[in-house]
Subunit: 198 residues, 2 copies
């Protein structure tokens, strides 16, 4: 098992506070979903593995009415492992962008499809920006004065700054696509069949 990324992501979250697999999933969705994701299928086996290698400890919390919780807490060894990972340089993996892939094949498609493609991409980034604002408000409300907060806000800022840039690119690109089309068609022929090219 390597799983270095997910493993350390979970370890890091536990360093910011003990919790269950269910808690981890909630935190991922709420606080870091703009740049990270984890599924239960990863989280539970990794927690088991972390416990087996003594990087975290586990204790059962009985609850009435609700199922028992397995609460995990980082150990000194876990801290050391986290610190090692944090001091290593981060990897930049090539991010696959399906929208750009389709746009790259734009000439194989038709203008309407291309416009729809970028319009959806634009909508998505608008929503992202809203989501960032929402999350920022929430975090500031729920964690005032928290020493972790400034770092959290920096990641939100990254998301927002990037989304804004992409938004502007969308506007420019929508214009370019319309211009590319203009010489060919005399304005809105509409009845373009779906499976047509050029």
């Amino acid at each position: 098992m390597k799983q270095s990324k997910s493993k350390h992501a979970i370890l890091g979250l536990l360093a910011q506070g003990s919790g269950s697999g269910y808690d981890i999933k909630k935190i991922v969705e709420q606080k870091i979903s703009h740049f990270w994701n984890e599924s239960y299928g990863q989280i539970y086996p990794i927690l088991k593995d972390l416990a087996a290698t003594k990087l975290v400890s586990r204790k059962v919390e009985r609850q009435t009415g609700k199922p028992d919780r397995q609460v995990y807490t980082i150990t000194a060894r876990g801290r050391a492992s986290l610190d090692d990972w944090l001091s290593e340089p981060a990897q930049f993996q090539v991010l696959r962008n399906e929208t750009l892939l389709k746009l790259f094949f734009g000439h194989e498609s038709d203008t309407d499809a291309n416009l729809r493609l970028i319009q959806r991409y634009r909508d998505y980034h608008l929503q992202l920006i809203d989501g960032c604002a929402e999350l920022e408000k929430e975090l500031k409300r729920d964690h005032p004065g928290d020493t972790d907060l400034p770092y959290w806000l920096m990641t939100i800022d990254h998301c927002r700054v990037e989304a804004r840039a992409v938004l502007r690119w969308c506007d420019v690109t929508l214009k370019k696509l319309a211009d590319l089309d203009e010489p060919t068609r005399g304005r809105k022929p509409r009845a373009t069949p779906v499976r047509q090219r050029r």
Copy 2:
């Protein structure tokens, strides 16, 4: 086998020109590496599968001195499949950003490590911008007047616009990190041991 993404990526590249698995790999690296990647371990089995399902045809090209080439050409069925895929909306997958993950845990790390983290991220994006400029020049030189060119340039523009935004974010963030640190230390204590926190 689903492989919808890689499969259609390869199909699309073949639509822009016939070629071998080796050619595909070259094109991926040269033209779309800023937002896509494919390994031989994917390419060759997918080409085999595309040929088996008649979406592409294959013919052997004998070469003297060099090994034979398996040249693949998209068929009418392949075109239809590509068109179907192009008219479907693109998916936005959550991109995992390890740098942001580590920054999110910034308080669990130390300021020097955080600064190094963002500095490396900044360097990477500077290089990316250079790479974009380089690629743009190359494509304009090698494919003047090509009908595909405008779409290719749009994807490069996306990369550049995004990288520039991230670059600015890096500068702001580096300052924020330095400011966060200032109240704690009276300027450059230097001998901070690696495995220290807070």
